[in-house]
């Protein structure tokens, strides 16, 4: 480039020189300057200078042309789809061809390398985009999972500021204006958690600490959490206020605590129930062993009492085991299509003697319909006997117990109604609790306080029905069992709400 421009300056200089020489020659001729040799020399000098300038300009022009052409070739060469060879073949032969070709090859190589790199970069970008999208969706997923997690989660940076919480953790926070990174100590309500988080934030080494936290929220509800707090490594060398330092996951262990408490209460009541007959046995055995009882009749009486207490203990253990067996699912439930009425009739037969012994009228008012239920016969029979014998137990002599069955809105229903002592509202609520015995009636009959819980479990958990009680103190009680009818039956009823009131003789098959 510099060379061509200097050549152009030279050519321009030559042209000026030739013009000056020609002007000098012409001027000399015009003034009649005689020695013609001066004209000749001036003219020749001017002509030569003109020629030199012309040659220089031509050369320059050719070079420019060649450069232009080369560029065109180059352009053609680099245009996708054109064959470089073809373009090269059209290049006019000349002094520049070889050198140009060499240069051109280099350029072509460079261009193709560049093109390859471009393609690579394109490829890379596509891949990165795919990865980015995948990461975004993964992030979304993680966020959804963490947000949906029932366990509260909190993350703090090393300055003890709250960087992230999931929605479950918001119960722990003071409701206030959204702040970007509030200090944990200011927004977390539970002081024990704040203390734990602070300890962990200030800790220098990584590690995890697990602590149980009891916290009563402002509404007065007590929460139990097992907090697992992890101190993360320093991570990067450039501390950043968004970098996580401490992550806490809180598991709600309230249910577990309640379960533990219920279990302890259960064990306590079992032991209480067992200690009472044991106390009798121990006392009488000691009296007899110490030879305190001389009178043979009293001795016999004491032996009978001991036997009675042993029986009571045995019954209690039996009932407990039954309950545990059924609750644990150890007992195989053998459900079959059964006639509810048939089971109830059997239960009546079993309880009849006890009722007669107490001069209680035991009446049956069974549905004329065939109540088809899908049940475990033994379990349901046990339940019916249990309810009937309870009714007999807690009804004074001369009273009445009625067993009814009927079809009621897709359910087979039976109820045991007595004219007994009845239950208070509180007793009605609690009568299905294990070991709950109505205090005032405890002396009317012996019982373990496990019969009704067992019946409820059989009806509700094993058979998907319901067992409820309605009672009025001093007037009597009604225990009602509802069992789902076997589907076949009510499908024939065209899904209508068939009840016993619209008795169809055809339906009783």
């Amino acid at each position: 480039m510099r060379r061509t421009s200097s050549e152009k300056i030279l050519a321009f200089g030559m042209m000026v020189l030739s013009a000056v020489s020609l002007l000098l020659g012409a001027g000399a001729a015009w003034r009649g300057f005689t020695p013609w040799i001066v004209w000749l020399v001036g003219g020749c000098l001017g002509g030569m200078c003109g020629l030199a300038a012309g040659w220089l300009l031509w050369r320059n022009f050719c070079q420019d042309q060649a450069a232009l052409r080369s560029l065109n070739y180059l352009a053609e060469l680099t245009t996708e789809g054109s064959s470089g060879q073809e373009a090269l073949a059209r290049f006019p032969s000349g002094p520049h061809k070889d050198a140009f070709f060499a240069a051109l090859r280099k350029v072509a190589e460079a261009v193709s390398r560049l093109r390859e790199r471009c393609q690579e970069a394109d490829h890379l970008r596509t891949r990165q985009e795919v990865r980015l999208r995948r990461m975004q969706s993964e992030y979304q997923q993680m966020n959804t999972i963490l947000s949906g997690l029932a366990d509260p989660m909190l993350a703090l940076n090393e300055y003890g500021e709250l960087v992230w919480v999931n929605p479950s953790a918001e119960v722990l926070l003071v409701r206030r204006e959204k702040q970007d990174r509030p200090p944990a100590a200011e927004v977390i309500e539970c002081p024990k958690l704040v203390e734990l988080l602070q300890t962990m934030t200030q800790r220098k080494t990584t590690g995890t600490r697990c602590e149980d936290i009891e916290w009563t929220d402002p509404a007065g509800k007590t929460h139990y959490y097992r907090a697992v707090v992890t101190k993360l490594g320093a991570g990067s060398e450039h501390p950043d206020s968004t970098a996580l330092s401490v992550v806490a996951v809180l598991r709600d262990i309230g249910d577990q605590k309640a379960l533990q408490k219920r279990h302890a209460e259960f064990v306590s009541s079992v032991s209480h129930e067992m200690k009472t007959p044991l106390a009798g046995i121990k006392a009488y055995v000691e009296l007899l062993a110490d030879g305190e009882v001389d009178d043979p009749e009293t001795q016999q009486e004491f032996f009978r009492t001991i036997a009675g207490q042993v029986e009571r203990l045995q019954r209690l253990v039996e009932n407990l085991l039954n309950l545990a067996r059924i609750e644990a699912g150890v007992v195989q439930v053998r459900k079959q299509a059964q006639s509810l009425n048939e089971i109830l009739e059997e239960a009546l037969r079993v309880t009849q003697p006890a009722a007669e012994g107490k001069q209680i009228r035991l009446e049956a008012d069974l549905s004329p319909l065939y109540l088809n239920v899908y049940v475990d016969r033994d379990m349901l029979l046990q339940t019916a006997i249990n309810l009937l014998s309870n009714a007999v137990k807690y009804t004074p002599s001369g009273g009445q117990v009625v067993l009814r069955s009927r079809l009621e809105d897709r359910y087979a229903q039976f109820e045991v109604e007595d004219t007994g002592v009845g239950l208070s509202e509180e007793d009605c609520r609690r009568v299905f609790e294990k070991f709950y015995r109505v205090q005032k009636d405890a002396n009317m009959a012996s019982g373990t306080g496990l019969g009704l819980p067992l019946a409820k479990h059989i009806v509700e958990d094993v058979h998907g029905g319901s067992l409820t009680v309605q009672s009025k103190l001093g007037e009597g009680s009604v225990f009602r069992v509802r069992l789902p009818l076997l589907a076949r039956h009510w499908d024939n009823e065209a899904g209508g709400s068939a009840t016993d009131s619209d008795l169809a003789p055809a339906a009783s098959s």
Partner: protein, 161 residues
């Protein structure tokens, strides 16, 4: 004149056993099957000592003790409680608050119950102040081997472990 005792328990078998033992030892024994009946007997008979169960219909043992202590003339009536409860009761608290001399865990030995009655009434006869009975006799369960409950956080015998 024999000392007069009142026994309160809703379990007739236990009542009969204790009554038999104490009567044989020469005490005059009256029985009641619930707290309310017990309270009526206390007012009527003015017994020298009351032995009552905790869980009873109508009026439970604790209510009966509270009723007794609310009566100025019965402040020093010796009271012993029988219980089949596990760990809900705190004998120290009962002793401190209601001056219950001892809490006897069921199943109990009639022989030991008699010894305790003898000691309490003997001490009372000598005019000595009747203080709470030492823990071994008052609550036999706590003298027995304790289960290894290192991991158990509940209270046992009323004392946190």
């Amino acid at each position: 004149m024999p000392k007069r005792l009142l026994l309160c328990d809703d379990e007739i078998a236990i009542l009969r056993a204790a009554e038999f033992k104490l009567k044989k030892a020469g005490y005059e024994v009256h029985i009641a099957s619930d707290g309310q009946a017990g309270w009526e007997l206390i007012q009527r008979l003015r017994p020298d000592m009351v032995i009552t169960d905790c869980q009873m219909p109508r009026m439970n043992g604790l209510e009966l003790v509270q009723r007794i202590r609310s009566e100025p003339s019965l402040q020093n009536l010796p009271v012993v409680m029988l219980t089949a409860k596990g760990f809900e009761l705190r004998p120290e608290e009962l002793a401190q608050k209601w001056n219950v001399l001892a809490v006897v865990a069921k199943p109990f030995s009639p022989r030991e119950l008699l010894q305790m009655v003898d000691r309490i009434l003997g001490a009372a006869a000598e005019g000595a102040a009747v203080g709470p009975i030492p823990a071994e006799t008052s609550y036999p369960e706590s003298a027995g081997p304790r289960p290894d409950l290192a991991s158990f956080s509940s209270a046992w015998d009323g004392q946190p472990l």
